[in-house]
């Protein structure tokens, strides 16, 4: 049949025989893509009298928006916080590998480091779209150094900082540039943090609260004072334990705080690898505030490496199954679960629906970063970053801008 597309000559792909995640449910609908974006087939039919050039039979798969990992420190032997000459190559290597996990966009994360590291690493990687070369980079996630010494977790204490007078200037001194930064994790109880948070929000940077021992009042003030876009992402890697006391509910209380302005959502990150977060904690958080749950891998350098011993920088890590220990000890050195593992595990442990599990890895991180509905959704006009999954939520294929960038078995 001759085609007649008055709006564009670009080829149209129709994904058939699939269930798509749209409007918070799995719908039995075809998915149409043109020029890297989801297309409205009804408009195509009536306005352009057009139809598909190519049909992709998905064999009953689920199609979800591509996963977005907002907290990943490295993988496959690459450490993003390492001040090397070829940071860009390292980020690209990981970007390509995580396509296998259904991740189509991510925020390379730097842990607390001295200013020299930020000055060297940050300029080397720009925000850029994904493609066959790898997942898209949405911007850096700078986790520290403005976090509290009390709950530093794995962050090296000697590099932790407080805000000197002139909060944002000091921050700029440490980081050098904020041009390609998407998220900054800091401790809200550090004096001077309020103005810093405000300034960062105004620049479109998402601010994450990295300290779990804050009084609820203080944390809520931080959240409520911001104009524009502000999303609090409670950061699980910084503290070892989520403290909850009935007179000081801490971060857990924040999830259901009445001080959050209407229409504003608090997002909280959870590593659902079955090791770093107690299943009960995951369930409580999900039930208390399901729409704010953001799955993150918080993956370390050892993610993706085979079992056994590996020397990574100054450390020797031992990988056993899903656990990564400091070699010779039972001390966990970080998370090595992949994003798709986290999605499956979260669903299993929390008893949530398939839709909720998928949204926690796609819609919610996109909303957190303020890039929805362009990313994280399959609405008409959204970017066609897709992940095809089977019933068990195993990744079968990954697409970026409507182009297949990874397929299982190839």
């Amino acid at each position: 049949m001759p085609s007649n597309k008055s709006v564009s000559d670009a080829p149209i792909t129709q994904f058939i025989n699939c269930r798509i995640l749209r409007d918070n449910e799995l719908q039995r609908e075809d998915l149409w893509v043109r020029e890297g974006r989801i297309l409205d087939p009804e408009k195509l039919f009536f306005d352009e009298q057009g139809y598909a050039d190519k049909r992709v039979d998905c064999g009953g798969s689920i199609i979800a928006p591509g996963f977005i990992d907002v907290q990943i420190n490295g993988g496959y032997g690459i450490d993003f916080s390492q001040a090397s000459e070829d940071v860009s190559d390292g980020v690209s290597f990981v970007a390509k590998k995580i396509l296998e996990h259904g991740v189509t966009s991510f925020c390379p994360t730097l842990v607390t480091s001295p200013p020299e590291v930020y000055h060297k690493v940050l300029p080397q990687v720009k925000v850029h779209d994904g493609g066959p070369h790898g997942a898209g980079v949405l911007g850096f996630h700078l986790e520290g150094p403005f976090i509290s010494a009390e709950k530093k977790g794995a962050h090296p204490e000697k590099y932790l900082r407080t805000f000197k007078s002139g909060g944002l200037e000091h921050l700029m001194e440490v980081y050098g540039s904020l041009d390609d930064v998407a998220i900054v994790t800091l401790a809200p109880e550090l004096p001077g943090s309020q103005s810093v948070v405000r300034e960062l929000s105004q620049r479109g940077i998402t601010v994450s609260l990295g300290e779990h021992r804050s009084q609820l009042l203080l944390v809520s003030e931080s959240v409520s004072v911001q104009p524009g876009r502000f999303h609090a992402l409670s950061n699980p890697s910084v503290s070892a334990v989520v403290q909850f006391h009935h007179r000081d509910p801490g971060i857990v209380g924040l999830l259901t705080s009445d001080r959050i302005p209407a229409g504003r959502v608090v997002y909280y990150g959870m590593i659902a690898d079955g090791i770093h977060t107690n299943p009960a904690a995951l369930r409580i958080a999900h039930r208390a505030h399901p729409s704010g749950l953001v799955l993150v891998t918080d993956a370390i350098t050892a993610m993706g490496l085979p079992p056994g011993r590996h020397t990574l920088g100054q450390q020797v890590i031992e990988i056993q199954g899903l656990h990564a220990y400091v070699a010779g000890t039972k001390t966990l050195s970080g998370s090595i679960a992949t994003m798709d593992m986290c999605v499956r595990h979260f669903k299993q442990v929390s008893g949530c629906s398939v839709q909720e599990a998928l949204e926690a890895a796609s819609l919610h991180p996109a909303q957190l970063l303020g890039i929805s509905p362009k990313k994280g959704k399959l609405d008409y006009g959204s970017d066609a970053d897709l992940v095809l999954l089977d019933e068990g939520l195993n990744v079968k294929a990954t697409y970026i801008s409507g182009e297949e960038v990874w397929r299982k078995g190839q």
Partner: protein, 274 residues
């Protein structure tokens, strides 16, 4: 006319869908000779569309060489509105089959000049060689398409104001808010449908029984516009038992017997040919 009575809605839908399927298949449409089909909307033909989609999926029928002309569309309702007839046809039929979008015609209720739109539609039908089979429904007030009581029985495609009955009947699709229901529509005329080679009217449900009675057991009357088809050489009324509730027992018995004879006759031919 022929009156075909099935036990329930599902069977009536299936009978109608099979009839349409068989007609298209027997016509053997091709690039030089399209099958032109007139189509309705509403809850009555929904089951029929479902069945047609099933037959398409099964490979029993293709709509590649079929041109469709819908009966009507609301005026002033955005095309993307979920209750527009464009949306109905896309969601319930077009998106599931292989029809060429250029061959699916529906009146544009948002056209700049509504009269011109109506005239152009008549023109398109004429250019397509007329309608081979026009499928329609019947309103509780006996209207065909939006030819409300009082419409000329020789009318053509035009703008019509909707009757109160129709607006009330449609309110359920607009959250039961009468103020949200469109008050005008573009519709093919009674004359337009009468021009078709064959007409098939679907009528199901007890609430349509009185209209069916008025349409086939009383005279031709512009207050019950479906009655015009008493003067069409080839009309089939397909209904379920509930829709026959206001008919005379004699009428129902006659047509049930007639259908049995037709069925047995067709069966004997098939057996003879086998």
């Amino acid at each position: 006319m022929r009156l075909v009575i099935l036990d329930d809605y599902d069977l009536a839908s299936e009978w109608a869908a099979k009839y349409i399927r068989n007609r298209i298949v027997q016509f053997k449409p091709s690039a030089d000779r399209f099958f032109t089909l007139g189509l309705p909307t509403g809850s009555t033909p929904y089951g029929c569309y479902q069945k047609l989609i099933e037959y398409y999926r099964h490979g029993d029928i293709s709509f590649k060489y079929v041109k469709t002309f819908n009966m009507d569309e609301y005026v002033g309702l955005p095309r993307a509105h979920p209750e527009s007839y464009h949306s109905y046809m896309w969601n319930n039929f077009f998106k599931h089959i292989d029809i060429d979008p250029a061959n699916a015609h529906i009146l544009d209720g948002n056209a700049q000049n509504l009269e011109e739109e109506c005239q152009a539609y008549e023109q398109k039908i004429a250019e397509a060689g007329g309608i081979e089979l026009f499928v329609g429904g019947i309103g509780p007030d006996g209207h065909i398409a939006f030819n409300e009581p009082g419409s000329s029985l020789v009318s053509r495609t035009r703008v019509k104001t909707l009757a109160k009955d129709t607006i009330v009947a449609n309110a359920r699709f607009f959250g039961n808010d009468l103020s949200k229901v469109p008050t005008m529509a573009l519709t093919v005329g009674v004359g337009t449908v009468m021009d078709a080679k064959e007409v098939m009217i679907l009528i199901t449900g007890a609430h349509k029984a009185f209209a069916l009675y008025k349409a086939i057991e009383e005279g031709v009357n512009h207050m019950w516009t479906v009655s015009a088809f008493q003067q069409h050489p080839r009309t089939i009324f397909v209904c379920d038992e509930d829709a026959t509730l206001e008919l005379r027992v004699k009428t129902v018995k006659y047509f049930k017997a007639a259908n049995l004879h037709i069925y047995l006759y067709m069966l004997s031919i098939r057996l003879a040919l086998a």
